[in-house]
């Protein structure tokens, strides 16, 4: 207990240094910005900023990227409420009741409750990380290679279950991602694998170029096909503070949303999106009186907004303690840490306490900044909504090119960018979700290494994976998840939920 507080103290002293405050501020401003701008998401932004982050201290880099991630949850709700265009996928749910409120002239309270709920959820989630992560890391320190392999398998299966569309395609994308991850020099034998005699691939496929190609440029190509520029009607904001009655009505919803979001965020494959959906569904079932959800009920804004922010933050737990990304943004952060020579996992907390606790504390500071940014300054963000996409996409392309080149000052990485742009475009056209691919790519080399070590210890006996309870547990969980999704009834439900 006392440990936690001394750790939080350490974290605050790191996060409150002038330099880190600036990066935290920059992160949440950028996050809000990309949350507001339709067509640019946190994944794209973090991918574009990866090369810049390499010039920073790892702690500052992570603070910056974390700020973008949870900041985007705030910004996304602004557009969802004011123009019924969710800036982020996780705000889709918010637009149901939020935009109805805006049309009834209650946009202000909707924005207000979204920000307050998010702030509350963010504070709670910060403490959950502070209390929950250390025991988890301690447990993970005892994991051997077999447990790690099973854990990664479980994480990847969870990512598959949550991907939209066909399960088979999602599994195939994971496998393909793992394969892409293996390209380059093999650590054990020194052999160059899958380089096809190209010098540029000797160190493997550059992660930054891959993610910028898929989430940056390929997405621009798809957006340009699907987007029609239309005049967006922006609702007037009005006064921001919800009334006392509204606040009272929302309090249980915020608590439920925060609770549910915090749990769902920790699960591999979880995060903000799932949290928001689940919280809204729960709210419709339990809120009394079950008034008019979908017709501008303020609780329909409060619950998912709290949940997505809580989920966004607790999804840092598996990343920081186990080294397992729960979504593409986390995968990018793992990639960034690895460039700095830090392997995310249970050791981070003991070896680099200032990194872990600094990031946790910065989230709380960042949430405070976000409330200040979002409530009084909402007018500025609304103006940005009018920014046409045709002015934005050349910027994305230019930044991706510069980014791909500056990682190693290597033209080959820009060629990788071009190749995977085509590949990513094809995948999006064929409804193959790229998120599982990115997770597989990050985990590929680690999975192979753990498989190799596990088999080395057991002298080739595959039974090693079912000999310890933890490993069996992960494998059973993975099998269970797959079975559940394959079951027809649940499959239909899942499709309905995704279609909503």
């Amino acid at each position: 207990m006392a440990d936690v507080f001394s750790n939080i103290g350490l974290g605050l002293s790191v996060a409150a240094s002038l330099q880190n405050l600036v990066y935290c501020m920059l992160g949440v401003v950028l996050g809000t910005l990309v949350g507001v701008l339709p067509g640019v998401g946190p994944v794209t932004t973090v991918a574009m900023l990866l090369p810049i982050s390499f010039t920073l201290e790892p702690t500052s880099a992570l603070i910056l990227m974390a700020g973008i991630y949870y900041g985007a949850q705030y910004g996304g709700s602004t557009t969802a409420i004011l123009i019924n265009i969710p800036g982020e996928a996780s705000s889709v749910i918010t637009s149901l009741d939020g935009h109805q409120m805006a049309r009834q002239g209650r946009a202000g309270p909707a924005l207000g409750i979204a920000a307050l709920g998010s702030f509350f959820a963010g504070c709670v989630a910060t403490f959950i990380i502070a209390f929950g992560a250390p025991p988890l890391a301690k447990l993970a320190l005892q994991f051997g290679p077999a447990e790690y392999f099973s854990l990664m398998l479980c994480g990847l299966v969870a990512a598959v279950v949550l991907a939209r569309g066909s399960i088979i395609k999602a599994i195939a994308m994971v496998v393909l991602g793992l394969l892409f991850g293996l390209a380059g020099s093999d650590v054990n034998s020194g052999i160059r694998r899958f380089t096809f005699d190209m010098q540029g691939l000797a160190d493997g496929i550059e992660f930054v170029a891959l993610s910028m190609a898929i989430y940056g440029i390929a997405e621009v190509a798809i957006n340009l096909e699907r987007r029609q520029e239309e005049a967006k009607k922006v609702s007037a904001v009005g006064k921001l503070m919800p009334s006392g009655a509204e606040l009272r009505a929302c309090t249980p919803s915020i608590l439920r949303g925060t609770f549910l979001g915090s749990i769902l965020g920790v699960l591999p494959g979880g995060g903000a999106l799932l949290a928001a959906f689940a919280a809204y569904t729960l709210e419709k079932k339990v809120a009394k009186p079950p008034r008019k959800f979908g017709e501008g009920d303020i609780r329909g804004v409060a619950a998912p907004e709290s949940a997505n922010n809580a989920g966004a933050q607790t999804s840092f737990i598996p990343m920081l303690t186990l080294g397992i990304p729960s979504n593409p943004t986390m995968a990018l952060m793992i990639g960034a840490l690895m460039v700095h020579g830090i392997t995310p996992g249970p050791r981070v907390m003991t070896d680099r306490p200032e990194l872990f606790w600094g990031v946790v504390a910065s989230m709380w500071i960042g949430n405070l900044m976000l409330v200040i940014l979002n409530l009084p300054m909402v007018g500025i963000w609304v103006k940005l909504l009018r920014m046409p996409y045709r002015l934005m996409f050349p910027m994305i392309v230019g930044f991706c090119c510069i980014g791909a080149y500056t990682i190693n000052a290597n033209v080959a990485d820009i060629a990788v960018l071009a190749f995977f742009t085509c590949f990513g475009y094809l995948c999006l056209k064929l409804d193959c979700e790229p998120a599982p691919l990115i997770l597989g790519f990050v985990l590929g080399p680690m999975m192979e290494e753990n498989l190799r070590r596990a088999l080395l210890i057991s002298r080739g006996d595959p039974m090693v994976f079912v000999e310890t309870p933890i490993s069996i547990g992960f494998l059973l969980a993975a099998a269970g998840l797959l079975l559940v999704v394959a079951a027809p009834a649940i499959r239909r439900k899942r499709e309905e939920a995704m279609a909503e």
Binding site: V175, L179, P394, F399, I402, V411, L417, R452, L456, R459
Partner: protein, 148 residues
């Protein structure tokens, strides 16, 4: 045609192609034995799984009806990939200023309504911003001008 689910069919074909390349390439690496995994072990395993999944997708697409593939619009894709390649070709010999203004100018062709003045202003503005942020601000080692 017998293909009832074109999206699944072509995804399956794509996965099969990747699986084939993987298996053929990995056959050149030593497999090792269970206790001592060689560099070919894991890729071969993955390649086989990928091939199986691709095959399932292809076969299933003959049986179960699914969505058609949306028509590929070549203009945005070609303009975007083209400008990335252009940047690759120009950055080292010509430097950031020329490469980036050319790239962003060409990129704007990918959009539906192209306007000369706007595209020129935009590319000039982005280039100035990039020089300020990346070279002067972050001191990234980017060549600014052609090296003579």
């Amino acid at each position: 045609m017998f293909i009832r689910a074109p999206k699944d069919f072509w995804s399956g074909v794509m996965f099969l192609c990747f699986a084939a390349v993987t298996l053929v390439t990995a056959s050149g690496y030593s497999m090792g034995r269970g206790g001592r995994m060689g560099p070919g072990y894991f890729p071969t395993l993955l390649g086989a799984v990928l091939g199986l999944l691709g095959l399932i997708l292809v076969l299933r697409s003959f049986a179960i009806r699914g969505e058609a593939v949306e028509k590929i619009q070549w203009r945005p894709l070609a303009a975007l990939v083209g400008c990335v390649l252009l940047f690759a070709a120009m950055i080292q010999p010509l430097g950031l200023v020329i490469a980036l203004s050319a790239t962003t100018f060409l990129a704007s062709f990918a959009g539906p309504d192209w306007r000369l003045r706007e595209a020129a202003l935009l590319s000039a503005g982005l280039t100035i911003a990039a020089v300020l942020i990346f070279v002067l601000g972050l001191r990234l080692p980017l060549p600014l001008w052609p090296s003579l």
